[in-house]
């Protein structure tokens, strides 16, 4: 018998505030964590192999038992400011940030970072 266990944690928090009648500030934080592993799979094909130079043999070794394991964390932050400078005019700024941390790469490492800063003006008529 073999198996596959996985756990995920997701937590988030958001704050929205109106310091004045014409301004709004908001911030959202999200944290996700996922762990997964093959269980009870004791496979080692290494003793049966002749290994040629230049080939990796990942699936012909004990490494196969943990080949698709997962240990991954993502942190996301979104925040911004909206200011109504006059009745038809609103100025806004937002920041989006995400950080991906792949601690057990599978096929390829998906560690990375994304940052976007946006500024704009909105006219209502």
């Amino acid at each position: 018998m073999a198996g596959y266990d996985n756990t995920t944690h997701s937590a988030w928090m958001g704050v929205q505030a109106y310091p004045t009648s014409r301004a709004e500030v908001f911030a959202n934080l999200a944290w996700n964590r996922a762990d997964a592993t093959i269980t009870n799979f004791a496979y080692d094909g290494g003793p049966y192999a002749a290994q040629l130079v230049g080939l990796d043999y990942a699936l012909q070794s004990a490494e196969m038992a943990g080949f698709s394991n997962l240990r991954f964390t993502r942190v996301g932050l979104n925040g911004g400011l909206n200011v109504r400078v006059s009745n038809p005019l609103v100025v806004n700024v937002t920041v989006d940030y995400s950080k991906y941390d792949d601690q057990d790469p599978y096929l390829f490492t998906v560690t990375g970072r994304y940052l976007q800063i946006f500024g704009g003006v909105t006219w209502l008529f």
């Binding site: 266990d5 929205q16 002749a50 998906v110 500024g119």
Partner: protein, 588 residues
């Protein structure tokens, strides 16, 4: 009504898109709202700076990140005058891959028309294939290997969707016509495998240009108690891209490299360049008839659909014919009865497969096909008729009793029966009985709760018969110098001797979920929720299968005063899967 909703949604989308959830909302209308203005709208201009690093397929899977800065423009205008309503919106994110346009028109509720277009990028994964290496000690030539012909390629698809429709209402009949054109273009990774001499996986970059066009037309009749609708739909799909070409490996004995394996494959290098990853053109049409009859608070609805889907390159097709009906009857003021019935048939063409049976040029079997070389193991030819496991007739019946035993308390008791009859698959019939009870209730003025408990019992669930654990047919190495660690069995004898059935479907499944929300005052709400499912199959002949999922969570909303509010939450999920796992060395 739809146009008014559209106006609200469009405004909300514009505001959210600019990150201003509340500040720009107009004041709430008074009790006697003035007539709507002929024109109002929103215009937004902005710019975004983007910085990324790492694997773009995750950090920016659907974003344009080719340039550090992008300008954006969004404009919405809507209004109403003399029964003419319109709603126009346009957004461009500074790149052709990030656009969204929509136009809605309503003329005195007689003619309604719309057209929308949106596009977005989607980055696609690139499998490095570098785990596909393996070998046996038999001469150092019996290996699994790979080749990625474009190892630095970054794959991306651009999605586009142009959709339009018009409704014309003449008294109690509405005629409607719609058209949708979806496009997916770009590059993605495709693979093929050459067997004999080695298991050789080769990856290519394929340029593709998929176009799916759907045309719908129909009419809807509305009478006092009866509504009936007929819809015809036609969908065509084709890939206008070019297929990669590949010359497969020479089929030789993997260890000795003798030219004796040609009769085990249908093609090898002698066939020259051959196309890889060919997507056939598909045509589908359907006829759908819907009807609803309402008498007092009772209703009877029904749907009948007949559809035909055809691979027009190969003239292969399958048909869907099915119907669904639902009866709802109130039983007094505190109870109701709902009954559903559904039955459909999938009928896929059987196909005669004319296998190319080549003869081997050398060795003891020279001049013979594979079946001629092993006449005791196989029939005279590998030609066969492929009868589809897709052919099936599912029948479903469900009945639900609803009750309101107390104020703001609702309970539902249900029973469902489903039978899936398969024409050709080994599991000829699967039967599932389902029982459930669900409810929701207000617990005083400061709490409410919701729950559902469901149990399913399945007889003969879908499984793969004789999928694993081949019998030990030769418990000693084959002779040779050096001695092979593998037995001298042919791979087909191992496959044919498999004994264990495998599945990923349960015979019993229990599902429980509950939710409790407490609101001690107007500024605080706390919700706890829990979901649990346990599925087991203990009817397999060699093993048991099971999957258990547990997921608790909590949400909190708190508003200290009129100036700020906080939301927070946490969800945990744990899933455990147990199954028999068995693999053959080198899959033969």
């Amino acid at each position: 009504m739809r146009s008014r909703c559209t106006f609200v949604v469009a405004a909300a989308v514009a505001i959210i898109g600019l990150g201003q959830p509340l500040a720009a909302q107009p004041p709430a209308p008074s009790s006697a709202p003035p007539p709507p203005p002929a024109a109002q709208g929103i215009v937004s201009i902005g710019g975004a700076g983007v910085s990324t690093d790492g694997y773009q397929g995750r950090v920016a899977e659907y974003q344009v990140t080719d340039r550090d800065a992008l300008a954006s423009l969004k404009a919405l205008i809507w209004g109403e005058k003399n029964g003419f309503r319109y709603d126009l919106s346009a957004f461009t994110g500074g790149d052709a891959r990030n656009q969204n346009y929509a136009a809605y028109v309503d003329i005195k509720r007689v003619l309604k028309a719309h057209v929308t277009y949106r596009s977005l990028p989607h980055r696609l994964d690139h499998d490095p294939l570098d785990y596909l290496d393996a070998g046996a000690s038999a001469g150092g030539t019996f290996i699994v290997q790979h080749d990625d012909t474009d190892p630095t390629a970054a794959y991306e698809m651009r999605y586009g969707d142009l959709e339009s429709g018009v409704d014309i209402t003449l008294k109690n009949i509405t005629f409607f016509l719609g058209h949708e054109r979806q496009t997916r273009g770009g590059t993605h990774q495709v693979m093929t495998v050459a067997h004999c001499a080695t298991c050789h996986t080769v990856a290519f970059t394929k340029k593709y240009q998929e176009v799916t066009e759907t045309l719908t037309a129909g009419a809807r009749l509305t009478m006092s108690a009866l509504t009936a609708e007929y819809t015809f739909a036609n969908r065509d799909y084709e890939d206008r891209g070019a297929n990669p070409l590949y010359q497969y490996d020479n089929a030789v004995q993997p260890a000795t490299l003798q030219n004796i394996f040609l009769n085990r494959v249908q093609y090898d290098d002698a066939n020259g360049l051959m196309p890889v990853s060919v997507d056939p053109s598909i045509r589908k049409y359907s006829n759908t008839l819907r009807a609803r009859l309402s008498v007092a608070d009772a209703s009877l609805t029904g749907t009948f659909t007949q559809a035909h889907t055809e691979n027009t390159d190969q003239n292969l097709a399958y048909d869907y014919t099915g119907g669904f009906t639902r009866l709802f009857v109130p039983l007094g003021t505190r109870m109701s009865l709902k009954a559903d019935f559904r039955r459909y048939t999938l009928d896929n063409d059987s196909v005669f497969v004319d296998v190319v049976e080549q003869t081997t040029p050398e060795g003891l079997s020279a001049g013979k096909t594979y079946t001629q070389a092993f006449p005791a193991a196989f029939p005279a030819t590998f030609d066969f008729v492929r009868n589809s496991s897709m052919n099936r007739t599912p029948t479903e019946f469900g009945v639900e009793l609803g009750a309101r035993p107390a104020a703001r308390t609702f309970l539902r008791f249900g029973y469902g029966w489903q039978a899936i009859e398969r024409e050709y698959y080994e599991v000829e019939k699967t039967t599932t009985n389902t029982l459930y009870v669900a409810g929701r209730s207000a617990l005083g003025k400061h709490a409410n709760t919701r729950f559902r408990v469901q149990f399913e019992d399945t007889k003969d669930p879908f499984l793969y018969e004789r999928a694993a654990i081949p019998a030990v047919l030769q418990p000693f190495p084959s002779p040779g110098t050096p001695a092979s660690p593998l037995t001298g069995l042919q791979y087909y004898t191992m496959y044919q001797s498999r004994q264990a059935d495998l599945t990923s479907f349960p015979t019993t499944s229990l599902f429980i979920e509950g939710l409790l929300t407490a609101t001690p005052n107007d500024r605080l709400a706390i919700t706890g929720h829990y979901r649990w499912r346990d599925s087991q199959n203990d009817d397999l002949n060699f093993s048991e299968w099971g999957r258990t999922t547990s997921s608790p969570g909590i949400d909190v909303w708190f508003a200290a005063d009129e100036k700020w509010a906080l939301t927070a939450g946490y969800v945990f999920q744990k899933e455990t899967l147990d199954t028999l796992f068995s693999t053959l060395a080198f899959s033969g």
